[in-house]
């Protein structure tokens, strides 16, 4: 017997038959004696239609009215799912964000959850009633409906699990778990039984789009055990949890990649204090996110080369910003390259084991792949390489770290 939050995304509740399928899954958990709260998204396609209407009327529209419109998608799903559960003989009721309430800040369109009042819901859960909760929405300080931004239902689920002190938060998606790397590229990729929050965050931030980053951050902060699993199969999924729960820690848990990278190199930058700030200040002001940054040791004592990466979509804008700010620092030449990919090996095991980075460099060298930029964090080593080598690098690294399935 446990207290569980289950979350189903738009594809899982895409039509009446799928909602009925979700109801059967929920019934199973409830009948096993668990206290169950279910968080659901809008039926797939619905939110896009609602957003399209808002945008058709006014490309720049009042975010409060946008929230009023788009939050209806989840509202429809909770009512239908409650009806489907009752039809199966399961006591259930729907909850909109404002009814619980899920208090959020007033940043309409991408609000953050501040607190959740769970008293009434806990009483009803204890009586065996299933709570069917609209994801993605909250109640702002102005008594108006807020939405958490696209993908916010994951965050709703984790926040609710934290507030309810749930034993587990099961996120049902159209994939059946978290893999060691992209199975479309590496056929020998394995599904992970468990992964730490930190690893999941690194995986998510470099492009493995299974869970929304914010929901993982929130899970880590409140120590919510999150299970990622498929709503279309009965296979066990991947548990995202605390490091302590993972007895046998792998040196490397996964290999991620991101094609959304562009490299900028400034050649012959004056090597004096304050230059970095004068370069990255204007980029930050222009809301351009800079990722990897490498500065070489000055070779002539007066100038140095500076390399950094930005999102592919920001490349042109970044070049313009730098040309404009040039008078503040000065450089000889600007070289840009968007045919690059960032490959990262991730694992909490590398905290206590040396040699992880070395294995990566050796493996890539053996395949004749040139490393353009390197950056490391406590549990990650990332390299920038030419985009053409993506598949080759992923497969070679997957084998080198002994991640291949039998």
């Amino acid at each position: 017997m446990a207290r569980i939050v289950m979350k189903f995304g738009g594809t899982s509740v895409g039509d009446v038959a799928r909602i009925q399928n979700v109801a059967r899954r929920v019934k199973r958990e409830a009948q096993a004696g668990n206290e169950v709260a279910v968080v659901v998204s809008a039926m797939s396609g619905v939110t896009n239609q609602l957003v399209a209407w808002c945008t058709e009327i006014a490309p720049l529209h009042d975010a409060r009215e946008y929230d009023t419109v788009v939050s209806t998608g989840e509202q429809v799903t909770i009512g239908l799912l409650a009806i489907a559960l009752q039809e199966l003989g399961v006591d259930a009721r729907s909850w909109m964000g404002w009814q619980i309430p899920i208090h959020s800040d007033g940043v309409h369109g991408k609000a953050r959850i501040l607190s959740i009042d769970t008293d009434e819901m806990l009483k009803r859960l204890a009586k065996g009633q299933v709570a069917v909760v609209a994801g993605f929405q909250g109640l702002g300080p102005d008594n108006r409906v807020t939405t958490l931004g696209r993908g916010g239902s994951d965050t709703s689920a984790v926040a609710l699990a934290a507030a309810l002190k749930a034993d587990r938060c099961d996120i049902y998606t159209d994939v059946d778990g978290v893999y060691t790397t992209d199975p479309r590229i590496v056929t020998k990729a394995k599904k992970l039984d468990k992964i730490t929050y930190e690893e999941m965050l690194e995986l998510a931030s470099v492009g493995a789009k299974v869970l929304q980053t914010r929901s993982v951050e929130m899970a880590m902060k409140h120590r919510v055990r999150v299970q990622v699993l498929s709503s279309f199969s009965d296979e066990p999924g991947t548990l995202v949890c605390d490091e302590d729960e993972i007895v046998e820690k792998a040196l490397v848990s996964g290999i991620a990649y991101s094609r959304d990278e562009a490299k900028i190199t400034l050649v012959g930058v004056e090597d004096k204090p304050g230059v970095a700030a004068r370069i990255f200040g204007p980029l930050a002001e222009a809301a351009i996110n800079v990722d990897m940054i490498v500065q070489n040791v000055s070779h002539d004592g007066a100038t140095t080369d500076l390399t950094f990466t930005v999102g592919k979509a920001d490349l042109e804008k970044a070049k313009q910003v730098i040309e404009k700010a040039k008078s503040g620092f000065g450089f000889k030449a600007l070289a840009a390259d968007s045919n690059v990919v960032k490959v990262s090996v991730i694992g909490v095991g590398m905290r206590s084991h040396a040699g992880v980075a070395l294995t990566m460099f050796k493996t890539l060298a053996e395949k004749g792949i040139n490393i353009q930029v390197i950056s490391t964090s406590e549990i990650k080593v990332s390299v920038l390489i030419a985009e053409d080598y993506t598949e080759l690098a992923l497969r070679a690294l997957h084998t080198a770290y002994e991640l291949d399935s039998a």
Copy 2:
């Protein structure tokens, strides 16, 4: 300068272009210096889709969840209309039932409005902000969304107008006003400039489906001046108002008809006290609405004939109920006929003028139309005739009461 409630039905807000059209009409009233609250329905077709989903999952479903689902239709429209108004430079905000709140009783699916808190809205109206209000919905005592039943947006508008003490409640529909009779049958039917609440009620209850009956009752109770007009033209409509406002009262204002009638005659019913109760009691318990009732004088001192009408859909059920209850009163034979139509002439003028009924009987006799049942009220004379004569009767009566347009 006035305070106006405007109401637009589903057809008037059926797509984005029509919502923008509504926004232009609202802007015109607001720019004329009026305080404006707008009540809107769901985009046409949306409510039907939502109801269909509920019914597909469970033909008999929890009315609270039904309300959660179907109330989203209006919520979408208010957000979109607020955006459209803002795009035209008009200050506007949307209001859901629970935000105002519009307090209702807890009869989900067909709730009744109990009270409306207008303080905050009045403040904003005074500052020139247009209130865009979701029709059809309220907040129940259980803090859950209620709906007022189909067509409830008219009631929302009139209730809001009463609470705001509005000078006028303009109901925009797909017809351009109230006619002396059905223009599809009588081409010489005239649009009425004004009509009393009482007449409108009689017209509505006998089948002229322009305004929902409950909304007219509420308007009469609170003396809300209601104007019915078209959202697709700029013609003036019909004002539904107090008798005092109508200087030149017509003897007969309109002629209505209802095909939804079936006649039941019980021949040879025992003529003794309590028989009527024993007949109509079981019908009432079976939720069958009985309309016209005629009992002849006893012809043999022991038995009498009793004729009454029920809705066509209830005929078979009514026959069963009566056969079952027969032991309580007894009759010789039961005759049923569903090929009947009820034709009514309506006018407050007949209170002070004799001869209205006589004109009706004479006119029908001249055309060879047999009257099967007659019933009268203070401002209405209704007759039941064979359905085949509907058009002939309507045209003849329209001419006889001098209602034909030039």
